[in-house]
Symmetry: D2
């Protein structure tokens, strides 16, 4: 941490900063400059909150040098985290893992048709919401527990693993009994009660980036999960708020190489929510693989024009199959491969 | 709702749109144009989700004309909502109501000193967090129930009403027994489990705007509360994400007149979180009153440089007293008055 | 400047950073830490570009401690700049100076009617565009030189000073002969050819903040003007890009106290472009004065519904007169006063 | 265009809107609704500015249905624009065209070394700034005309075509004599004097998206160029302002498929300025090709750590060569190919 003084800070103001640092049990080191002085803090282990220093007289700003997170950082654990699933599937290694399915589980016929279609095209995870966070109280909110049962049925029939979203701690209690991966959605990224509960489950967690969250904040939310004891976290870029309604959310693919540099956790991309229109889903899904994503989450609906939610951003099965072919070639171009579905026993 | 067709849309594509609208039980009205055609929807009451139309061939875009919210709108209820409290205090009328206190309840001595100081300067509500949502798992998370008891004690001694934040449904169970207003923080604005529970309490709710929420989304979250039966909602602008780290959050005061136009609900401003630095709190608090805010929420700490959280944005008691004087004159300039503390019995 | 090393940086990587700093003629000071080391730079006078350091192996990031601007900073010149005009008017002192008039000069009748109306209500500057930067090539682009002549005529008749925009260096040549203040618009804030030419005029320059410019970038653009020798610069906040189309541009009033802290230059606010709708102009104009703005620039049109551009954000004369009354009271509440028009000789 | 009325708009207010539309020579069509009425405008050809309607009493909002641009739209010209260069090179067809070189021309040795390196790796255009727009007046501003001469020399020796930036109309006069493509930078995207001059040159123009420009605004700036008679326009995505300093500019690759849908003009991507750090340049360059970009502009410097500007975002020659190999495979995966350098005569 570095405390930058104002240009006209007095010697006594600087001494007061030094004293305040020492009161915190830290060591201060003076950095005099031609224009202004600064005081460096030696030995801060990252868990000390030194922000009160910024209120002292003569202080211009306090700059954090150490990142505020710990267990999620690549410096803490240099090797990438690999999350292994029954059947040999792994997220975080060389494979690019594709999760696909409808926005919401609507009926048995719909989810089974979707599951078969995405499996035939090469997906290895089935996605589908049973509990839907909706901006309006008057929108379809999901089938609830019935939806979870239908997802389990689809898994049984197709061999696909299942990922679905929990909205609150009670939802985790329920979903950990049905799903293979528990999703925490973008709106819940800073729902700390939910994060703490999800940190205690034994199932891997897919944590989506909030639509106004910095990469640092995403990593800090993941830190909540690791701090509670769950090491199996998959991050997901799904678009952030931008100023141009024309591109809806702004899919921030640069976050992928940035997360890979800062953290050992795998990161996938969701080009469906991130673009909001099927014309842009295919190019951006390809781009995510090219940028180094460890996986994709794509909305596919057997009959998109009849979907109860998000129909306009869902691919039809044949569009998804064409996308998978391109992704396989792009993965190879960068030395990876798209994970293949296991054989159904 | 208006379905805009592509320039080269065929007659059969237009007929398909018309048919789809009629299948939904709505009436379609053709709008031919020189450049392109559009199809208007007559009789949509706002609860129909017509987004599937945007996926039909030949459709360029679907424009929503009716706002997606209902009970929060000023068209639904032309007169402004006034929330009345014991002792004659009201939020939403002519009075400008000031809530002040520390970021977090830290100790009995601290909260009592803060309560006396803000009451003496003219605040009518005491704020203070017992449960703190913190970006990092390693930051101080609040005193919990003990903090609520201390707030109740401060109310008893000073006559101030109490506002404090609930992080989850269980928190509402607890806080509705202690506080006069239950706060839902910016990070929880789209926590729908929490909104549904808070919609069932009999206590008024202060709903803060999420840091990347549009005004429409803020109103839709308030709609959740009204839809559950709680009419006593106070909105709060507290700054949104911008691109300039220099001004931290961007306090969007334009939201105040905009909310007043679109909704009957009162709206206050929080210049402390909205600016992040005490140098900017006073000017922006004044600006909020001048923009027509129905109240202010201001962080005041008896000894800001010793605060456990957010010290740098807290005013000292004498700075807060000076601010109150200016706010009284500004309120008068626009035909309002700052609410005065009731007599302590 | 501070060079932060990666956690696992080797001693030889640190030595290479130290050597690179010394090659630049600067002094390096080592800051060892428990988690990572950093290297401070002593004696950098702000004009050295040390960014190449961030490319060296083992370097995590380079943090700039010294601000990149110089002559615009309050540290360089602690007393606020006051710009004096004939007739005793001054911008940057205790007075709040109001500039008003139509978006564009449209005709002699229109500009004279506007000038009389704003003068009667208490404005001291007449604004009006003769050269208009328009997003579309098919929009009205202004009357050009004829517009300047009409502005001069309005000044002669009303005693108002004139401010109008230059779009390019040739425009400055022309406008410095007609106007009292030359405006550089938001879209031109980083048009360096224009800034260099405007730095050479003897007329004061009103520099608007670009719609995606940080406060630091605004100050750096002002630095171009000062570096060319023009000390009479007025900054202007006019709204920045945000994510909510509902509030159009986001009027960032926090920039006002921030600029006052960082710089000695005066800053005014333009709530008309900053909000885009007359319902929001009045509250936000009041808010700007309460936040400490040194002036306002407000669009007023004699008949807003007939304006050739920006009609929806223009106030009618009676609305402007009501606003002026409120602003006078708000200015008094914070110890300032609204400047009064001089007597017409 | 659609004029949406307030819910309580009176019949006379609606009649006034109808009358105003007819005064403009357009046809009004009434759209009564259960909640509110709207008035559609039939026969507006896009060049009429109907914004004054939004100021009429009872009007809630005016929605533009027709896009504000014309000649740049794909509806105007369904086939994609292909820009052909001597030697058979074309931008906008199946080929992906790579432009590479240093940020600024610094010396003859530097630009020749860079040109040879990028040509050997497969680039077909040499980029390099002779006139540099710099945020600070104290930064290196480029070699000017001398830089243009060095670029021409490098072309002669390597056969590479040359693209370089013009800052003002006088710059276009000069650069059109030296360069094969004239670049208009992000900061100049709405410099209309420059756009008008560049619309009159016979050389193709590369127009970069402004850092806060919507895609619609980018297309409107291109419309300025087409309206002046220059049909050979290449658009360029180079990152927009976001809220996360960690990813610097946010490279908005979704703009690529969106532009391809809305316009016939080719669009390339600049991952160097768009990410600001060489670690992210390679993944995002690959992602741009996968997203469908018609080309890349990449900063390559023979010795990045010695660059006078932007060293940290420049690739070293061997990094660029590795990138080119990956891009060739990705282009093939989506049915395109990377353009190969012509034989030097």
């Amino acid at each position: 941490m570095l405390v930058v003084m104002e240009r006209n800070a007095t010697a006594s103001e600087i001494r007061r900063v030094v004293a305040a640092i020492e009161e915190m049990g830290l060591e201060a080191r003076l950095l005099p400059g031609k224009q202004r002085s600064a005081v460096g803090i030696v030995g801060n282990d990252g868990s000390v909150d030194a922000s009160p220093l910024s209120g002292l007289p003569g202080v211009l700003e306090v700059i954090h040098v150490t990142q505020p997170y710990k267990q999620v950082s690549r410096e803490w654990k240099p090797d990438g985290t690999v999350i292994r699933f029954p059947g040999g599937l792994a997220i975080g290694g060389d494979d690019v893992v594709v999760m696909a399915g409808p926005c919401a589980v609507e009926s048995e016929a719909q989810i089974l048709a979707a599951a078969r279609a995405v499996r035939d095209a090469g997906a290895v995870f089935l996605r589908g919401g049973a509990f839907k966070p909706r901006t309006s109280p008057y929108s379809f909110q999901g089938l609830g527990k019935k939806g979870l049962e239908l997802l389990a049925k689809a898994r049984e029939e197709t061999g696909l693993l299942v990922v679905t979203e929990a909205l609150d701690p009670a939802g985790v209690d329920l979903i950990e009994r049905y799903a293979d991966v528990i999703q925490i959605g973008a709106r819940s990224m800073q729902n700390y009660s939910l994060l703490k509960r999800a940190g205690q489950t034994r199932k891997p967690v897919l944590l989506k980036r909030g639509m106004a969250a910095t990469v640092t904040e995403l990593l800090l939310s993941a830190e909540y999960l690791l701090a509670e004891g769950n090491p199996d976290i998959i991050l997901c870029e799904r678009g952030v708020r931008g100023f141009d309604a024309g591109t809806r959310y702004l899919l921030d693919l640069t976050a992928i190489p940035l997360v890979h540099r800062l953290s050992h956790l795998p990161i996938i991309a969701d080009p469906s929510h991130g673009t909001g229109h099927r014309d842009r889903v295919t190019p951006m899904a390809r781009a995510a693989v090219a940028a180094g994503a460890d996986g994709l989450m794509v909305e596919v609906h057997p009959t998109p024009e009849r979907a109860l939610s998000d129909g306009v951003q869902s691919l039809a099965p044949e569009q998804f199959a064409a996308l998978m072919k391109e992704c396989r070639m792009i993965a190879e171009a960068i030395g990876r491969r798209v994970a293949e579905p296991a054989e159904v026993p």
